[in-house]
Symmetry: C2
Subunit: 135 residues, 2 copies
DNA sequence: TTTTACCCTATAGTTTTAGTAGATTAACGA
DNA sequence: TCGTTAATCTACTAAAACTATAGGGTAAAA
């Protein structure tokens, strides 16, 4: 299941990408428009900022805005920041690889074999979509 | 993340598929061989039986055995039983469709758009793999 | 009477999804 | 320049859901 964090994060990014002139947009406006708990969205936008997707401005007229062009924001990076590893099992993860303790031989593991294919197919989708493609 | 339930279930099915003559195999044997908590595996095998993948036999010489040929067990059905919907969001699920309450227009939703592609790519993998392909 | 699957319940642990309370910063008007 | 307001930032807490596992007893087959 996709977490609400990721879902909300994607919706917020999409919302910001549609803003004219890339003006700062307040959390409250996004939360209201997208039916998201404001405080929850607040923490999501914060992690998006910390990971280089958004800029922010405090005080009156402040808010969040995209720091890059939507076409330069691939879904791979967004998903990794919001949802975590794209692989469903650590032993097939490119960026977060971990060996399974219970599994003696990775090459012989049926789960490994299947999940490699799933990872590659998902990666293919995420690589072929930028934020601009979702508008 | 793939749940351990699914992971263990897949490993158990693979184990059973390799058994000569499709003789009943005891839970304890599978659990030991695959490093799985026996009690947990017990419940997993039970759901696999209830969903028509396995047969069982009680008493001495009893155990679980495959009810169909491995080549006739597509990963789509296994994954749906063990892991649940293949779609990451209910609004793009074929078998478990649900409308999002927060989302006014499905056609306009960026998450929907992306997750449709992810679902299709995953479905593609699962449809092209039977239990026999994992051996 | 032993061996095995079956069934129900409980529970510790983790993750998710928030909510609460306040600090910090920036703009603006008196 | 000072105070008010508007906004983000930070940390802590908490409820709820889910995951993984354990315990103990029942039923059936050999």
């Amino acid at each position: 299941m996709l977490s609400k964090k990721t879902k909300y994060g994607l919706k917020a990014l999409t919302y910001l990408a549609k803003v004219e002139g890339n003006e700062p947009v307040q959390i409250a406006e996004i939360a209201k428009h997208e039916n998201i708990s404001q405080k929850f969205l607040e923490s999501i936008l914060l992690t998006l900022r910390r990971n280089g997707f958004l800029g922010s401005k405090k005080g009156k007229g402040g808010g969040y805005y995209l720091i890059k062009e939507p076409k330069d924001i691939p879904m791979t990076t967004v998903m990794r920041v919001l949802e975590g590893p794209i692989a469903m099992v650590p032993c097939v993860s490119l960026n977060f690889y971990e060996k399974c303790e219970d599994c003696p031989d990775e090459e012989e593991c049926s789960v490994h074999k299947l999940m490699l294919q799933v990872r590659d197919s998902a990666l293919d989708v995420y690589r072929n979509n930028t934020l601009a493609d979702l508008l």
